[in-house]
Structures are given as C-alpha cells and as structure tokens.
Symmetry: C3
Subunit: 324 residues, 3 copies
C-alpha cells in the first residue's frame, strides 16, 4: 500500500521512522523485541525511569482521540525521561486555517525530536515522515485502516514471552479483518517472524477481497478454524458496523464468531487469548474467557509500554553536531 522500506530505515539500516511492519525484515523486528526485553523488567523496579531520552521533546500529535494509546506513549516517553507535548489538533492552529504542513514546520522549528502520529486517514504518518526534516522521527500510532505497528509489535512481544519462539506456531486472528489496521500489521509481523500459519477467521463480509495474497489461510467457521491453534487474537468489533448490512445482531455475531469457553476448548490446551482492547464483553469475547487463565490481555497492555520505549529509543535521531 505504501512503499516504506527506504523511508523507515537509515542508509545504515537503522530504524529512522516506524510507520508500518511492511518493509522491515526479521532482524529488525527481532531487535525491537530484544530492546523491549531490556525495558520489560521495569515493572518490578522501584524507580521506573531511564535517562535515555532526557532533554528530548516528543510530540503526541493525535488527530483522532485515543486515551489508551496516547497514555501508553506518554508513559513510555516519560519513563525514558523525555519531555512530552500533547497537541490537540482539533483546537490548534489548523482550526485557524493553517495547513497540516505548516503545523509540522512550526513544531519542527521548536526543535522537537519525534512525532507520535494518530490519524483517521491511512497514510497520514507516511505523509508526515516524507516531509519532516532530517533530525525528526515519526512513529505511527495508528492510521486509518492501514497500520498500527506498535500494537502489532507488543502482540509479537507477548507471544514470544510466552511461547518462546515463533517457529511452528499457528495463530488465528478472528473478527473484522477487513477494517482492521491492527490485523494488517499483525499479519505482516507474524509472517516476517516466521510462524507456521496465520489463519484469519471471519464472515465473508469482513474479509478483504484477496485475503490469500496476505499469506494467510482463511476460515469462515470458527469451530473448524480454531483447531490446532496456539495463539488466538480477537479483534475489537466496531459497533458502528452493526448498523450497516455487514453484520447481524451482536448476539448473532457472538454466537458465530465470539470466543466462548466452549469454543476455546477447540484450540490447543495451552493456547493463549489476546485482544488489543478495549474489549466488548459478550460481543466478540465472553467475559469468562477475557478474565480466564488463558487470557494474556492485560500482559499485552503491560508490554505495550516496554515495546513503545524500545521503538522510541531506537528511532530517536542522534544529532551529529552534538556539543554537550
């Protein structure tokens, strides 16, 4: 969709922007996971603070409201000792008729170091990355229906922490694949990291037209689809889809594609259950499963901080003309 390899990496192959999983290879994804590992022990520490990004300014540029994602980026930046600037775009200068590019240029002139971009339009983070000056990095915090790469990486981190390796794993992604930037990024990450199989399970109306081209197997039946599965990733059902012709009622959806305790037993006995949150209890997942022993949903949230710290510290540009 967007050619990003040369945009995301420096000439030396280091991370420069983090826009999508596409265009990144296994060694770079593994480097992110390994770096996150060094931050993940933080939770047991009294002082959750690293001086790595002291004196850096990170701008949360959220064109779309998302308390949860903004909060995790905010905490990650703060725990790296960076200064965080939250820009609410709806009430900012763009409302005075200033263009997006003028807003970016002005923030650049204030010597900020990194933009965390959330936008309802696919490609927004790429557009900004193409236009920022050389001293600034861009992290995609979710753009339209395109990508949500830090979410995908925290999912990979969770899987690796529990399953130890990707080889041999069969992973099911269940729900609205068609509209999900999370699913798109997960599929790329899982394939790049070398799982045995990515299986998408969804009604036909919620699958992209050429799903197979994404290197996945497809199932329209959750009972069949869950067989031999090691990792189950549930997607959040956007309730606004319900009003259209795409979906039957919530109750009907839960019956067909919701994860109940009964259906969970079809998967491998040590299968783990994941969800990017916030969950719709009783719609895509039963409460007893979300809170049950196989659920790792809250670990995902926990690891999200460490993974974002990893991506931020890896992508932070080092100025060559340093004087301090």
């Amino acid at each position: 969709m967007f050619n990003t390899r040369h945009l995301q990496l420096t000439e030396q192959g280091k991370l420069r922007h983090f826009l999508s999983i596409e265009g990144l290879d296994r060694s770079l994804l593994t480097e992110i996971l390994d770096t996150a590992e060094s931050f993940a022990g933080m939770s047991e520490q009294q002082v959750k603070k690293y001086p790595l990004l002291r004196g850096k300014t990170i701008v949360n540029l959220f064109f779309e409201n998302s308390t949860r994602t903004r909060t995790t980026f905010d905490l990650a930046a703060t725990r790296l000792s960076a200064d965080v600037l939250n820009i609410n775009i709806a009430t900012s200068a763009t409302a005075k008729g200033e263009s997006l590019l003028d807003t970016i240029r002005n923030l650049e002139a204030m010597q900020v170091d990194m933009f965390i971009v959330r936008h309802a339009l696919s490609g927004a983070a790429h557009f900004i990355a193409q236009h920022v000056s050389s001293g600034i990095s861009v992290i995609n915090a979710g753009d339209g229906q395109h990508a949500h790469p830090t979410q995908a990486m925290l999912d990979m981190f969770t899987i690796r922490r529990i399953k130890k390796q990707f080889a041999g794993l069969r992973v099911a992604i269940i729900g609205d694949i068609l509209h999900s930037r999370v699913a798109r990024s997960q599929i790329h990450a899982l394939n790049t990291l070398g799982v045995e199989e990515v299986r998408v399970i969804a009604p036909k109306t919620l699958l992209p037209a050429h799903a197979e081209s994404l290197r996945v197997t497809v199932s329209h039946d959750i009972q069949q689809g869950l067989q031999d599965i090691d990792v189950i990733i549930m997607l959040r059902l956007q309730k606004e889809r319900m009003s259209g012709a795409l979906l039957p009622s919530e109750r009907e959806y839960f019956k067909c594609f919701g994860l109940s305790e009964e259906k969970l037993q079809i998967a491998k006995p040590d299968a783990i259950v994941m969800h990017p949150g916030p969950i719709n209890r009783g719609v895509e997942i039963a409460s007893s499963v979300a809170d049950g022993p196989q659920s790792v949903i809250l670990q995902q949230v926990n690891y999200g901080i460490a993974v974002r710290m990893a991506v931020m510290s890896m992508a932070m540009p080092i100025r060559e003309d340093r004087h301090d």
Copy 2:
C-alpha cells in the same frame, strides 16, 4: 457508611489507601500532620522539589471536574518528583463502552502506582481500592456526599499550626452539613484528634436526621452558636440547593447563616475563620471577613499541598522485589 479500617491500613498499621477519616486513629492522623509539617517549610525554599517519588506514576482519575483539587494533587505529586498522568474520564475508553473496572485494570497493567480518585458517587474510591492489585494505592479526592479526607486533614493542619493543639478547642461548622462530604470528614477528624466540642450550625433542612450520633452539638441559631468558639469553618453553599424548597433566597441565607463582621465578634477574639473554597462572597461569608485578619482561607490552600504530599508519600507502596 463504609467499613474502611482494614482497607486503609496494612497489617503493620501503615497507611495503604486514604479513603476516609473514619477507621483511622489519632496516632495515624497525627503522623499525617507531622509528615506534612516537614513539607510545609517548602514555600520558603528556592527549589520546591523532593526526590521521594521519583519514577512513580500517579494517575489523577477525575470523573468529576475540579480544577482546584486536581491542581493541588498535581503540584503535590510533581514536587515529590512523581510522573503525573491526568485521565479525563469523560473522553476516555469508558466512552467506548469499557467498564470502570476494565479501565482500572488497564491502567494497572501500565504499572501506575497510585490513583487519585474524584467521583460524584459516594463509595467510588472504596470500590476502586477494593479491586486494585496490591502494588497500588488509592487516595480519595472527594466522593459524592461521603468523604473528602485530604480536605479535612489540611483543615486540621491549619488549626494545629495556629492553635498549637486540639485539646480544649471549640469548633463550629456552619452551613449545609447535610450534603457536605467536607463536613463529614472534618467532624470525624476533629473528634478523633480530641477537640473539646464540634458544634454544627445550620437550618434544620440542611442537617442530617441523626446529627447527634456524629458526636456534635447542634445549633440552629448562629448568634448563640458562635459563643466561645475558637475555630469557625464555613461551608460552601451549593447554589443549586436554592432552587428547591431547602433554602430561602441568598440574601435571606446570608442574613441568617452568613458570617458577617458583626457575627464574627460573637466568637472568641482570636477565633480563626476557615472555608474550603471556592467562596461565595456575600452568600455564606462577607467579603470583609473572607479577606479580614482572622481569615486563614489562603493558608488552607497553601497547606493543602504539604498535606497531600504527606498522604501521597505515606501511602506509596514499597515494592519488596526491588532491584535498583
């Protein structure tokens, strides 16, 4: 109303959550006041900063808007070097249909250390305290008509600073006792700390049905009630009560229960005048009294920072598995 002793203290009798004055004994309240004393000299310092909570994350979880209270907690946390996360609940994930408990669980997973909770429902802070994991503390910043314990403690601190001791003091609380979480917490604190008398002065419509059970004396006449009083605590009149049958006009209220210079002379000559703010000038208190020599209203605000620093530093959990 809520049984909280075992919830608020650790097995060793140390502060774990700070939810209400009820259930805490004199030695613990005195420890809070003594700890606050060590922070109160801060105002004369060039650098108002203590490293005590460095690397800790404190979440302001305000379900009800209150710039003043949020600001004092924010400043107290910042001056203890903690990182502060302000969560505006109205626009957060709960708006996407996530339950309060799911919001709490998610914030917990981000390794936050303390929740400052303000809520329009009585018992909200207790509910959260009952459900958080062992590494997290909850401070009640005001819940419904139930309790506002940090406000009560800053009032106690102000009284002790000026009057030196509680023994022998006669304290009048004047105004809408019935609906006031502040009054409820003040009455418990004053009695626990051993004042001679707590006298509530209010029209019958603004007193609870069994006021005497609170260990107070009751007066419906401010002229009589102010005799021999050392400390006068005015309550803010919620103007929305005016529209109902509970109260006559503002002018009539001021005439009967407002504190004028004339009425102030009935109390002891060295009586002090307190008010939790924001004040309604000319409704419950005359401007000349609020700004007069016996008023300690702005000292209350000042001491509010020190008292909140004390409560935060005392309740902050120490993780036993520390590695740093």
Copy 3:
C-alpha cells in the same frame, strides 16, 4: 496606554514582570537579546535542558486559546527544568463564580512562581501584575489589542541575528496595524533599539487615528512603501475583519497589500520577510514568498523558544529567605 515602567522593573532596575515594551529602555531590551543568544545554541545540542528554574512552578493562565504561543512557553519552561501547570480558565473555578482575583490568590497560595497570561482584554496582564504578591512574576503572552512583548522580542532577536545591528535599518510593517498588539509592541521595540525608520503600510481603515505619534512613517501604497526596506514584517489578517466594512475581498486585499514575489523585488535585495504566524497563504502573503529564500518565518518560531527562556529566567524572582 498603561504606565508600566515602575511595574515592570525592580528598584534595582531588573526585570520583574514583562508586560509591554513601553517603559523598557534599550539596555534592558539588549540584555534580553543577549540572554536569548546564550540559549539559542540549544538546537544543536543533544540534551536541550538547563537546570535554571528547577523546582519552580510556572502557570500558563490562558483565558484565550492559543496552541502555538502556549506551546512555545511550555517548551521554554520545560527546557529550563521548571514544572508547568496549564490552567484552562474556561472550565476552572471561575466557572463556579469565583472571581479572577480569587483564582489568582489561590494559585499564589499554592506557591507558584510565575504566571504566563493570555487574555482577550487589553490590560489583563497588568491588572494581574498589580495584584500578585512580591514573590511572583507575570509575563504577558498577549492581551487584547494592546501588547505581545515576547513576540516583538523574538522578532528583534531574528532581525539582530541576521542584520547584526539595528542602526540604519528601515523596517516596514504591513497590514492591519490598527488591531494588532504585535505591531504595537514591534514599533516600540524597533524605535527603542534605534532603527533608522519604522514604516507602516496599510489601508487607511486599518491604521490608528494618530499613527504618526507612534514614531512611524506612514504609507498607503505598498509599491512606494517597500522602497529601500531592509526588513518586511507582514501581519496576519484577521479574516473576521473581512465581513465588516473595513476591508474588500481577500483577493482584493492580496492585490493591494499582499506580499507577492513581484512586490518583494521592490525592497532591498537582501531584505528579509517576517510573519508572526499562523500565515494566511494567498491573503497577506504569497506561498512562494513565505517558503522562499528571503523568508525567516520559521527562524522566528525557533528563536521564540530562546527568547521566552531568556525572559522567564530574567524575570524569575529570587527569594531572599532561601534555605536550600
């Protein structure tokens, strides 16, 4: 308009509040520029952080929304290691009927050290400066149509950085002089710093009645007015003026007073183009000029941080009763 010399300076002639350029002499303005120079190298540093204001609390008291100005003050304070409190006045206690002065008194009692004030009424910052206690400074971040002194000083800084000195310079200010607090502060600063000529270029409807009393020359013809000019300062056109009788259409305005490449050639070949932002492309300035080689608009934004750091560090009161 407001007599401010004695209000802005201490008895020793040091900066106490920064409210307007009027009342300050050349040596003080030069001290601000020299201090800003010491911060301006910051952009090349890895760690953009000075410990000068550590432990100080700076309050952004914005009664009028301005993301850009608030952001630069926020960054300037943060890079001086101060703690920043953003108070959204619209939703604060003033909404509960508390007066402005009570709000100020309460913030004072919380031991804040500095107010950055933005207000739609001329004189608001002066009013607050007249009423704060001795330990607190006030910086005017724009009041009504009166003054915007930090904007003027960052403009002066930009001019001095590029033109090296003020003597001999001819500066044109073009646009809505009548309603512009920026223009008013610029004119005072340019004259105090000793430029050869300040020329204002505007239609008669957008000039004050007695413009000449401001020590400027006046032109109503941009073609004539741009001759021999070293520095061109464009003003933002407030689009709401368009609806009244003051101005013709945007297209007509651009034709008469907008800065095109063609008109720019009338000025000296090394003339620089300035604008306080946000710019209205194609209204007061052509895009090709705003983005062209003579434009220094983004440098102005950049220097704005250093100038605000200078003003904040100079005006921060030193408490004499220090104990640390």
